[in-house]
Structures are given as structure tokens and as C-alpha cells.
Symmetry: D2
């Protein structure tokens, strides 16, 4: 149960609960947090470790305690070894942080619904919430932030009478008074059945769909075209994804969910929807790497046709994990500060923010303001 913000919390620890706790993003976040906290690695790619976020009251990395839900069983230290073999984690790192991985592994609970699960939605939510409360109590945590980093779900059918799993977990988070962030394009809190819950939430929440690659680029390029009054005629994109997300998104429905986020930044910024499609292909040979090619046909002065192309080659887990840690820290502090409901100032992290601009520069400015407010006494 969160301690009121007025109470001093010196020394209190903060829980971070991953939905999809055995996936590559969660594994990278746990291993990386330990490595950076121990000074084994610099804090590259962690926005909350830059000077702007010092003295804002964010929980230190060393105070984070990890747990989570997953439906698979492989041990986290083994998963980390696999990631090191693929070059996602530095060699030697899994061994160096073996203890922290094992500690997180011990706090992972079976999620659901699992095959032949007889529990109905309310029972699942109750079970998940109980896991969260138990984790927080047993570890004596000030609070626990829940972050969804599971594989993308297909879009739910129109007439689905069950909640999608992402929504069950999200509901459990609010039920257990845990701040919540949805780093995936899955439904999460964006389900009409959960609106009563979100409307009365006494914790902060945010999302949806982490902005880590192609859309990150689009959120700086689209404003550039707009500010220079260049007319974007067509914006086409192709994504090659290796890992689990590639498989999940190969499903057309899941791709549609993801593409909606990718297009939002264009429509919001440019004011129109340019021609062009986005493809997401699964290419297992790429391992945890992803490649995104964008082709932007635009008109210059007097209609002269020009083209910009971008090729982004990144490692999905290494892009997502630090942002997930950033979100956990910011939400924990926001909760401590008594903030509730959606936090549009965290739009910097998302393809589909809770409001505000879709332009990265404006989102960053809003984030800095927010951090400043967090640093003040409330």
C-alpha cells in the first residue's frame, strides 16, 4: 500500500513488476539496472540518469526490486546468457549480475490466462492483484510500479466477451494501487470495460507503446518537415524484426495495433495523412535486432520532388530496457508526489501518448518541466 507522499521515505525501496518478466526487455532491464547501479557500465540511454533528473527525488537504481508475471518458465539467468550470446548483453555481464537475476527470478509468478485456465476475468484480476500486494508487502516496498513489456497481443475481436490479458494485468495493477505503464501496443487500460477503474484511479498511469525506433525517428523528422513547410507526399516504412516481437507482430492484427501508433505521429504533426504503408516482417535471422527503412517523398519549393530515406538498425531490448527503468522511476516518484490518473508529460516515451504533442522536442520539454515539478516539495 503506497505510503502518503508527505511521509519521509529515506531508504525505502521501490518495486518494479514486469508483465512479461522473462522476456528479453525485462531480462535486459534487470541485468542492466544491476550493472549500472554497481558501476560496471555507464548509464547510456537512461534519460533519468542525465543531470536534468538529479535531485528530483527519483528512487535510485540500487533501490529497485524486481518481480513480475510470465507464462513461460525458463530461468532469468539462462535467458540472460542467451541474450549475451546474441550480443544484446555484454559478455560476462550475466555472470557479474547473476545474484540480481536470481533474486528477480524468484519473484516471478505464473501469469495467465494459461491454457485450460478455469478462472474468469475477475478471478484472474484478483489473483494478479494479490501477487502484487504480496510482493510489495513481503519486500517492504514503498510501492510497486507495474510495467507491461509482454509480447504484443493481437487486436481483440469486436465481440470478445473476455478481457485481453494485457487488460487483466492492468486492472490488477490499479486494483492493487500500483502505478502502471503499458510499454506495448496491447490494449492494457485502453479497454472500455476498464474506464470506471481508470476514472477513479488513485495512482498515476501512462502509456501506450514504447517509442524506440522508427517512430522515435518520425517524431523528430515529421516536425522538421512541418516547420520547414515541406509537403510530405508519401511516408512508407518497412520493419524487419527478429525476436519474439517479430513473431507476435507477424500476426496481421498485432501489426495493425502497432501501425496505428506509428501513424499517429505523422497525422498529428503533419496535419494530414500522407500516402504510404508500414510493413512489419518477422525475420528470425536478425535475432534481437531490428531494421527499419523509411522512405519519405516530399515536395520542396515549386513542387520539386525530393526524398529522404532512413535506415535504423537497433537492438530492441537495449532500446526498450532503459526507458522502462526510466518510466518505473518517474511513476514511482509521481505516485509518491500524489499524482493520479494519466500523465501526458510522459508522452516522450510513447508512440501513443496520453495527450500532448507527438513531436519529440516538445515532449522532451514537457518531460523536463515534469521532472522539475517532481523535484519540488509537494
Amino acid at each position: 500500500m503506497p505510503i502518503p507522499a508527505e511521509t519521509p521515505e529515506t531508504g525505502a525501496r521501490t518495486g518494479v513488476w514486469f508483465i512479461g518478466a522473462r522476456g528479453s526487455v525485462a531480462t535486459t532491464a534487470v541485468a542492466g539496472c544491476a550493472a549500472v547501479a554497481a558501476g560496471l557500465r555507464p548509464a547510456t540511454a537512461m534519460v533519468t540518469e542525465t543531470p536534468h533528473f538529479a535531485d528530483r527525488g527519483l528512487p535510485p537504481l540500487s533501490s529497485l526490486v524486481f518481480g513480475g508475471h510470465d507464462t513461460v518458465a525458463w530461468p532469468l539467468p539462462k535467458r540472460a546468457e542467451e541474450l549475451a550470446a546474441q550480443g544484446v548483453l555484454p559478455h560476462g555481464l550475466p555472470n557479474a549480475v547473476r545474484e540480481e537475476l536470481a533474486a528477480a527470478d524468484a519473484e516471478i509468478r505464473i501469469g495467465g490466462p494459461i491454457p485450460v485456465d478455469s478462472r474468469d476475468d475477475q478471478e484472474l484480476i484478483a489473483d494478479f492483484a494479490a501477487d502484487l500486494v504480496d510482493f510489495t508487502r513481503r519486500n517492504g516496498l514503498a510501492r510497486t510500479v507495474v510495467i507491461n513489456v509482454a509480447s504484443t497481443e493481437p487486436l481483440p475481436a469486436e465481440d470478445a466477451h473476455r478481457l485481453p490479458a494485457s487488460s487483466l494485468y492492468a486492472a490488477a495493477a490499479l486494483r492493487a494501487r500500483c502505478p502502471y505503464a503499458n510499454f506495448t501496443p496491447s490494449t492494457g487500460l485502453h479497454h472500455p470495460a476498464l474506464f470506471p477503474l481508470t476514472d477513479s484511479a488513485c495512482v498515476p498511469y501512462t502509456g501506450r507503446d514504447g517509442k524506440t525506433g522508427q517512430t522515435l525517428l518520425r517524431s523528430v523528422l515529421a516536425p522538421m518537415f512541418h516547420e520547414r513547410a515541406l509537403t510530405v507526399r508519401a511516408w512508407s516504412g518497412s520493419n524487419l524484426l527478429g525476436g519474439g516481437d517479430g513473431a507476435a507482430l507477424a500476426d496481421a492484427g498485432a501489426a495493425a495495433a502497432k501501425n496505428a501508433g506509428k501513424e499517429r505521429v505523422l497525422v498529428d504533426t503533419l496535419g494530414t495523412r500522407p500516402e504510404g504503408q508500414v510493413h512489419i516482417d518477422e525475420v528470425p535471422a536478425l535475432g534481437d535486432w531490428k531494421t527499419a527503412w523509411d522512405h519519405i517523398a516530399f515536395d520542396g519549393f515549386l513542387g520539386t520532388r525530393m526524398v529522404l530515406q532512413t535506415i535504423w538498425q537497433g537492438c530492441d531490448s537495449a532500446l526498450a530496457a532503459p526507458l522502462v527503468l526510466d518510466l518505473a522511476r518517474l511513476l514511482a516518484r509521481a505516485d509518491e508526489s500524489g499524482l493520479t490518473g494519466p500523465i501526458p508529460e510522459l508522452g516522450f516515451f510513447f508512440k501513443d501518448p496520453d495527450g500532448g504533442s507527438c513531436a519529440l522536442a516538445e515532449q522532451y520539454a514537457a518531460l523536463l518541466c515534469f521532472a522539475n515539478r517532481l523535484g519540488q516539495s509537494w
Copy 2:
């Protein structure tokens, strides 16, 4: 002599004087201004024609009167035909605006120093200034803005005892009380011998080196890396330029001048200078088009190596001309408003601004503030 800003100027016309008046940028600006003013073409790529700049008191496009200096003799209408054959200007356009091209052509004066020119620097400055005053008077203009769009000069030698041509023209502009912008990387007002002149300038001036392609991209990408705390290890670039600028920049000294501007945005934004070089090649086969490839090697979380590549294929004149018209209008209004000296708020247009941020988004915000101020009564 410019009319004092206090005088009402309803209906007054504004002069735009190009150094390099027969080049492709100037030709495109003259032809394009006429085409847009006449409604033949939309105002794509003209920042000052977007809603933010309405009601700011900028001189309308139809009120601009063109002239300039050049050292070559080919007629502007013919030059426009050549540009249309290359696809820089739309076919039929040179014919549709033949009158306006001929009018500008009639206002072009021989520049200098020309071969076997016996005039010394002071005589050249005096002659150029006289041309400016004569142009303004004969045409009954409220004022004349001077913009350097000539081919890039080589870096002047350390012990040069003569001013480079770009500085002669710049000095003439200030001498004739003309607002001045340097759209090229040439020295212009940045010469120590001109500091007394700039210190006491009673007109606004700005520059240097228009930001039209690779550096424009860099001014949104570098902030993205910075804001996401991604460590840029190496930023390499290759530019293939077809037209006159390619030839001018093939000269190593000129390339050095240009590259200095390209690097500034990186150093300013990232706080360090990443590895990597920039090459500028002349490739006549590309005509007026240019292609810029950038390869950015960066580290993500835990040092994971990633790469972004960009390929920009644009038409140099079509990128530069609308910005040149924007600058002419903004400087004219700034002069009318009584502003003098450097205008850092115009950094949005330059690789090497007069101060302020090098990040495009911040430069755009500053420009909008500036436009707002211009719209107020002074």
C-alpha cells in the same frame, strides 16, 4: 537611403539584392516568388507563408523587387530555362514569369573584383554601395535587403591583405544601410576588419551558411540522440553535389569552410565531437541535385552498438530559394521595426547562427517568438 521605420509604409515596395544574382538559387527565388505571388504555385517550403507568420507585417511577395550583383553575364530568363530543363523549375514556369525575370535581369550590376580590376577594397565597397543606393532610389523602395547566395569562396589565406569578395559586398550593404544575410559559408561580415562596421550597424544582419540538407537533418537528429541519452560514437557524412556549389566546394578550403558549419551542430548539441569525417564531392552528373549520406554509430544501453543511416536527395536551389525569400521578408520587417545588429532568432535558417541553440526545434520556437514580436506595434 532606407526610410525611417516610423514613417508609414503602406504600399511601399521592398528590394531584394542578391550577391550571385545569376546563380541558380537567385534565379529560382526570382522565378518562384513571381509564381507564388501570382498564385501559379502553392507556397510550399516558404516558412513565412505559413499561418504563424500572417499579420506580422512582413512585406508581401508581390511587393518584392529584385536586383543584384554578379560577375557573369548570361540572361536570367535563359538561366531559368536551363533550370527547367534540369527539372529544378517546373516546365512552363520560366515562360509564365518571363517578365519578372527580365525585370530582375535589368537590375543586375557587374560585381567584383573582376580580373584585372584596378580598384582597391574601399573603391569596390563604395561602388557596390552606390549600386545599392541607386537601386533603392530609382525603384522608390522602402529598403533593400542584401543576401549573399554566391558560390562558396575558399577560406582566405592567413596573411591575405585584401578582403574576400563576400566581405566587400557585406561591407557595402552595411555602408548603404541595407539589412544583410549571408546564406553561404563564405566570410561575409565575419572578418575582423569589418568588426567596427558591424559593431555600429544601424540595420539588422544575420547568417551564416543556409541550412538546407544534411545539417538540417543533423539539427533534429543530434537532439534526439542527446535527449534519449544515446552516446554517439561516430558521425560520418558524404555529400555528392552536382551544380556550381559542388565545383566550388571541391576546393578543399571551401569544403573546410562548409564542414565547420556542419560540425557545429554536433558539437553544440552532443557536447562532444564524435569520430567521423564529412566529405563533399563534386559530381556534375547530378545536375542541381545533391545526395547526402550520413552514418551514425551510437551506443545504446550497456554499450550495445547501433546504427542510423540517412540518405537525403534534394535539389539545392529549391531548398535554398524559399528560405532566402523568408529571410528577405523577415529582415525587411526587422529593419522596419528598428532592430539592428545580429538577429540570433533567425538561427533556424543557418548552419552557423549568430547565437542560440543549434537544435531545430528550439530555433523554430525562437523564430515563432520573433515573428510574434514583429507583429506587435513597436
Copy 3:
């Protein structure tokens, strides 16, 4: 009716009959043939105008007479003007060859089946064949080569009881004793119902699906990987097409037809089918231009992962038209030489050749041998 090959044909003219005669490929071929024949333009991109094909008895460009079928009505000279406005044809060219365009225009007949066409397949074939015979006779031609350059058809349904249009035209060609080439991925002669006709053909025919861009590249790159024993793990491709073909191929069935050809070169050359998909998007903003991005993930020594990416930006009609003229000339000469049935030696031109290697170098060697044979007395 073709004259027997033994007869001397000095001065005889050769017909070229396009299915899709008002499309951009046919228009470009007619205009370009006239321009090259008149010496207005060099013979760039025409393989049969290189020294290897001199003295092979090919009909000269000036002896070609054009006609064709189409179902739309816009005049060829107007179509050429449109192509010039898009930069596909050089400006001024449509005017310079207006007579030749008008002559071809006068020889275009309504194709079919048209909406509410009451003719059955046999009647349509008979009508088309009659058009061919009439064209050949009226113009006193030695023979007429039929080439399909119409928009790609969707794959015919399994239970279709009617022949696809491309097969009707192909049957008509054989019926009228006209050599035939299918430059599109449409069915053409590859329909089981036409096998009796092809088995007994007394003219040469060839196809299918002209190799003009991405597949052309693949037919040199795949052999490179194979010869160097590099293991291709994944070969992904994305195509952005502007013109009519983009629209036609946006239809999923049509894309499937095209992709089959694209994959054949990989499977044939590499011996396995690598991971990866090919996408074909319609992007009208690109006009007649197309852009193809290929991403090839391959393993080097000891499994080291490497990547090759290619970006091809070409003008579809300008790529196809010269090959279509090459084929017309080669088939005319093959027919004159008494060759009948499929001509695998023309595989150089096709994604889906009639046999032989899919590697471009081997196809070129075979083509040169074939040209050599054509040059000998039969």
C-alpha cells in the same frame, strides 16, 4: 501471314503489336524508337544496339511499325506529353516524334473483354487474331511480334471457366502466327488450356515478367553470394511503385504473381529459400518512378553476421521500353530464322524465364551465343 524465312526480306518492315498499347511502357517504346532511329537520342539501355548485336540480321529500328490493343481511349501523343511532364520522356521529345506517335495511335484497336462484352473466349481470340492479320497485311509487314505490356492481372481463380485476358491475347498471337513475348507477370501462354497451342506453335515465343529492377539486381547479387559461399539467411524487399503498375499490384493477387518471379532467382541460385518477404506498395506520389529496398542478412566465415542493403530508384517505363524493343527485334529475327517454341536464350530479359540459369551473367552469355547463331545463315 509471315513470309517463309528463306525469302529475302531486304527492306521489309516488321510489326510490333503491344497489348496495352496506350500504357506508359508502350508509349515510351514508340516514342523512344523514333527518337533513337532519328538520331535524336543515343541508344542507351538498348541491348540490341550494342556492338555484339550488329550484323545479326536484326530488323533496324527504323523498320519497326507499331500498333496494338488497349481498352482505354486516350491518344498516344497526349499520353507522351504526360510522360514528359513527369520526366519520363525528355521535354520536347513528344513533339519531335509526334508523327510517329500519331501513326501508332492510328493502329491501336479496342481490346477486350470490355464491360458487357457478349463475345466468348473463342470469339475474342478470333477478333484479336484478325486485328493482327489485318495490321500485318495492310502495312505489308514481314511479320508482327506481339508483346504484352499491359497492367498485371490478378492471379486467376482456381475455378475460373474463362481465360484471363492475357491468355486470350497470347492465343490470338499464336493463332495469327505472330511471335509472342509476355513482359508482364500475367498468365499469358502459361495457361493449361493453351498448352496444345504452344506445343504446336510454328513461331517463337518467350517470357514471362520483364526483369527491370529489384530482380535484375538479385540476379547478379544472388550468384555473388553463392560463388563466395556466403550463406544468405534472409532476403527482404520492399517496393514502392507509383504508376499504373503500382495500382495493379496493390491487389494482393497480382502482387503474389509478381513475387513468385522475384523469389525464383533466389531459390534457383542459392539452392534454398531464405527467410524474408517482398512487399509491393502503391505510392501514387512517385509518379512513374519506383524505389526498391532490399535487405540481405548473410553469414560470413564462422557465422559472422553481415548485411547488404540496396536501394534502386528507377523509372519503370524507361527501364522496360528498351528491353521490349530488344525482344521485338530478337523474336522477329528468330522467327525469320525459322525458330519455333520457347526461347530460353532470352531468359536475360525475364524474371521467370523459359528455362536455363537465373544468373544474369550466364543469361547474358547465352544471349550472346544466341545472337551469334542468329547472325549465321540458317
Copy 4:
């Protein structure tokens, strides 16, 4: 001393002597040979392990014995660990082949000239040749093939009165009757002072400058443009090299040596030298990886301008090492077969072959013929 080719050599072992034996190419070759011979890794990228080369009498990988010259001292097993940390060698591999690395390490001799070396050229050659003879005798080898894989030398000055180091080693190889290949752009045997030696050589030799990346691509792309009669207007390239070769080639002279090889394939294949330059930059952040961007502007039918761009991202050592092993085996067998002098049939491996076509497909065909001849009894 090599055994005469007539003598049966069943079971005899073959020496492979690397100039630059502690470099990354040599280290990768030694480690990789052991790994493939032991069945730990597939023979990816080894041309001589493909079926075409079975039964050609090539020495088996397990029969190769490694040694070499170098001027640095770090141990080979340690170098291999570094390469594994960079991802050039698979993790675990250096440990798995530790014995073979140590064995090669023990056979590495100090090269020269070293700083303050008092030996003159003839003394150095004699010393190097003695090392070769000693290595061959002590190990009871049938013969020893010498391969230069050292860092590229700068172009020798016009008036240099000393031989460049690469030429000293090359002379020593011939002196010791060792077959020789120069995998670098350094001078090697191409020095006028060595012509008497090469003219009377009683062993086979070949070179120069291994074709591993950008030029490999060019050797299939240039023929494609030529065969399709497409006019290449400009071919520009930019290379970013991380490792030792990057540093060596940053020296302008060394780059000039390398670029000469890169251009030869274009001039030879296209018949003209297109516009455009090649840049080679050192970018240490790339480690052992290299990236090559090529931009090819070409004309299609009627002069329509089109562009192909390629981006090659490879690991230099992993590209070079298998080819070096291929060359060692082929030269050993050629020597056994009694061949002497230059071997143009090995042009497949080189930017600057000893003659013959520069087109990869033709070079491959020649190589297969050569292998066939090697397989016959002599």
C-alpha cells in the same frame, strides 16, 4: 625445400606463412581453420570447401600448419580473445582452438625492418627466406605458401632507394621457393627491382589486394550495367573502416593504393571511368566492422536519370580469412602441379588481378576451370 611435384605426397602437410601473422585476418584464419577442420563450425565463406573443389587434390584444412612474420608481440590466443569480444570470432571459439593458436604463435618470427634495424635489404630478404626454409624443414612440410595480410603500406616515394617491406617479404618468398599471394594493396612483387625475380620464378604467385567488400559488389554490378547497356554517369563511394586497416588507409597514400584497385573494375568493365570519388575513413568506433556506401548515377533509355545505392556492412577479417585459406590451398596445389609464375585464374579473389576479366562471374568460371585442371593428373 619443396618436394618435386612428381613425388607422391600422401599425408604431407602444407605450411601457411602469414606476413602480418598477429593481425586480425591471420588470427581469424588460424582460429577458423581449426574450428572448421574440427567440425565445430560449417565451412561458410570458404570457396574451396564447396563441391566444385572436392577431388581437386587441394590440401585438407587439417593438414595446414601456420606460422608467419610480424613486428608486434602480443600472443595469438590473446588476440583471438579480443576478436571474440568484438564479435568477430564466436564466443568460446578462442578457447576451443587454444592449442592450435598457441602452435601458430610459436611459429611466428620477428619481421622487419624494425626501428634502428641495421640490416640492408638483401640481409633482410635473406633472413626472412631463412625463416621460411627453417619453418618448412622443421615441420617436415611439403611446401609453404606465403600470404601477405599485413596492414597496407603507404605508396613508396618515387625516389625511395629501399624496397618497401612488402617487397622484401615477397622477394624472400620467391627466394625460398615458396608460392606467394599478396592479399593487400601494398607493393609486394609489383616492384621493378623484383621483376628479374618474378620472371624466373619457379613457383606460382598471385595477387594483389583481396576483394572482400565494396569492390566485390562492384565486380557484379558494373557488368550488370554494361550488359544492360545502361550508361553509368557517376560512381561514388565512401568506406568507413574501424580496425587496423582503417588507420593504415587513413594515410592518404595508402588510400590511393587501395582506390586504384577499386577503380580498375569500373574502368575495365564499363570501358570508361565514370565521375565520382572513393573515400576511405578510419572510424575506430566500428571495431573490426566496415561499412561501404556506393552511389551510382546512371542513365536509362532516352537519358532518364536513375540511381542505385548499396550499403555493405561486413566484418573485414571474417571476409578476408576464408579467402586467404582458399588461396593457400589453391597455390599449394598449383605448386604441386608444377605451375609457375602469375596465376590469372585466381583473379576471382583480387581487386587487382594478374590479368583476365574483372567481372566476378567470368572470374568464377575461370576459377572453376582452373580447379578442374588442378584435379587432373599432370
